[in-house]
């Protein structure tokens, strides 16, 4: 039985990876090009005028945040578009009809999203080498935060897809929730630059914790305590995971 589920899990994960690699021009290239532009404009052109941030060059400061942003958007987008696509063209039924427990479906889609998020993250890191020297303070923290964050947003993408009833629904949340939270999540500035009130408000933004712990992994500097950040991320993973499982068990959006 375990072996049967393991094969099913690998099949879903592989299928998910094949999906985004088959259309790599749509899935891998655009985020890499976008981040390259950020590096050119903010890192080099404007960054030189900004000077130092938290004791490092501006391009070094924004680099971890840009990688994190790519991980977040790509793990989210992968799951939301793949799962919604499967729902829309009904091939989700291929899994529903088979003896695949919801947990396996969940893990398969989430793994696919994580692989996409991390792959683009690595690609973006490679691009950053054109603009700044590579340095890493604690590779273990970098890896851990990358994995946890991609997991969290893959789960969030799945929830979005489960509730989505149209292609509009799968862009509304990314546009009006995810993007603002990411941009206000301390990628481009240290929250210490903000007035006290807005610093407090920023602490309510979960993405701040991910960006800062990730920056800590690369640079050894963070606005937020590392263990607090990890705890916050884990908390969200647990909540979203439980939500996903409940929704799948109920068949919300996929079973009448």
């Amino acid at each position: 039985m375990i072996r049967q589920f393991w094969i099913a899990y690998l099949t879903i994960t592989r299928k998910e990876i094949m999906r985004f690699t088959r259309i790599w021009v749509q899935t891998i290239i655009p985020p890499v090009v976008m981040v390259a532009l950020y590096f050119v404009i903010f890192g080099n052109l404007i960054g030189q005028r900004i000077g130092e941030m938290d004791g490092m060059t501006y391009v070094d400061f924004i680099m971890p945040g840009l990688v994190m942003m790519s991980i977040i958007t790509n793990s989210y987008t992968n799951v939301v578009s793949s799962f919604y696509g499967a729902k829309y063209s009904r091939h989700i039924e291929e899994m529903q009809i088979a003896p695949v427990p919801d947990l396996v479906i969940l893990l398969g889609f989430v793994s696919g999203g994580m692989v996409r998020g991390i792959s683009v993250g690595i690609a973006v890191t490679l691009v950053s080498l054109l603009f700044t020297d590579f340095s890493i303070y604690n590779p273990f923290v970098v890896l851990l935060v990358a994995l946890l964050t991609s997991c969290l947003f893959a789960l969030a993408g799945l929830i979005n897809a489960i509730f989505a009833n149209s292609f509009d629904d799968i862009t509304i949340i990314p546009t009006f929730v995810l993007t603002p939270l990411t941009y206000l999540g301390g990628i481009f500035y240290s929250i210490k630059l903000l007035p006290e009130f807005w610093q407090q408000v920023s602490l309510g933004n979960p993405i701040l914790y991910m960006v800062n712990s990730f920056r800590y992994g690369f640079r050894g500097i963070s606005d937020i305590d590392l263990s607090t950040a990890i705890a916050v991320i884990l908390f969200f993973i647990v909540v979203l995971f439980a939500t996903c499982l409940t929704l799948l068990a109920r068949g919300t959006g996929i079973r009448q």
Partner: protein, 310 residues
């Protein structure tokens, strides 16, 4: 033990529509079973519930004695299903669709490849294995879904209108193929709108109408009830009024040149022509009113013909 056992199955959709109103159905192991009924009767809903694609409102379903609720892993492993509508990822290559399906059932990759080759060859899709599914013709897509449903060697195969939109030649090869599968011991349930198909292949039959089973019998007994056939007659001359015939009272005038006559088994075509001839009515051509199944439904449900079963 039955291959399929359905008890008191109810389904009310979120829209409030009651698609199944308490269905009981027992299908013997090894049977070739037809589930018939007009459009919207509830056939696909019933199959959807059996396959785990639709939540039932009430009732129980077991596959070879395994409840789809309590033992869904075993129950699902025993079932293969070909849905009415295409439901594969049209951008995936044919071969991958079938191999992946095997993977969902936990079939190891090496065996999955062998089986995929076997079924794709048998269903004439091998040369298309690398094509994206959307490039297949309608008939090929149906066969792809059959290959996909068989890949884990199910003991119960359910096909929801497998021959819809399939030409007669291909339909015959499908029939032979299904006969062969059934001969090897697989229980088969199919829905169809062609009585000829059910007649040729199925031993037992249930007719569902408006969410209720109105007949559950053997094919032979069912066909006995179809003791008349309707013909359309094309006449040479304009018809002033509907002719009165001695032994036939069910005559409808369609237009000036044609009438529809229900001919019971007790009456021969010769009798009919003689009578008309005696009244000076010349029949130029005649044809069966298509779809005897439709007639059967009309008869059984004794409602006006409001379904287009084709």
């Amino acid at each position: 033990m039955f291959a399929l056992e359905i008890e008191n199955l109810h389904k009310t959709y979120a829209s409030g529509l009651e698609a199944l109103k308490g269905i009981d159905l027992h299908v013997e192991q090894g049977d070739f079973f037809a589930l018939l009924g007009p459009n919207g009767a509830g056939k696909s809903t019933c199959i959807g519930i059996i396959s785990g694609l639709v939540n039932k409102t009430r009732g129980s379903v077991s596959i070879f004695g395994h409840s789809i609720d309590r033992e869904f892993i075993v129950a699902k492993s025993l079932l293969g299903s070909v849905p009415q509508e295409f439901n594969f990822n049209t951008f995936e290559p044919v071969e991958e669709i079938v191999i992946n399906q095997a993977g969902f059932y936990g079939v190891p990759a090496r065996i999955a490849r062998q089986e995929t080759e076997h079924y794709l060859k048998q269903l004439g899709l091998w040369q298309h294995r690398r094509s994206q599914a959307r490039r297949l013709s309608g008939g090929m897509k149906r066969r792809l879904m059959i290959a996909r449903a068989l890949i884990h060697k199910p003991r119960l195969l359910i096909l929801d209108e497998p021959t819809a939109g399939v030409d007669i030649e291909l339909r015959r090869t499908m029939w032979d193929f299904l006969d062969q599968i059934n001969g090897q011991g697989t229980t088969i349930i199919l829905t169809t709108h062609y009585l000829e198909e059910a007649e040729r292949m199925c031993r037992n039959v249930a007719i569902i109408d408006d969410g209720e089973i109105i007949q559950n019998t053997s094919m032979k007994l069912l066909l006995k009830q179809l003791n008349s056939e309707t013909f359309v007659l094309y006449l040479r001359d304009d018809l002033a009024q509907v002719p009165r015939l001695q032994r036939l009272d069910n005559i409808v005038q369609l237009d000036h040149h044609s009438i529809e006559v229900e001919v019971p088994d007790s009456c021969s075509i010769n009798d009919l022509i003689h009578e008309l001839d005696a009244q000076g009515i010349v029949v130029e051509r005649l044809r069966n009113k298509v779809n005897r199944l439709e007639e059967l439904f009309v008869k059984l449900t004794s409602k006006p013909d409001n379904s287009s079963a084709a």
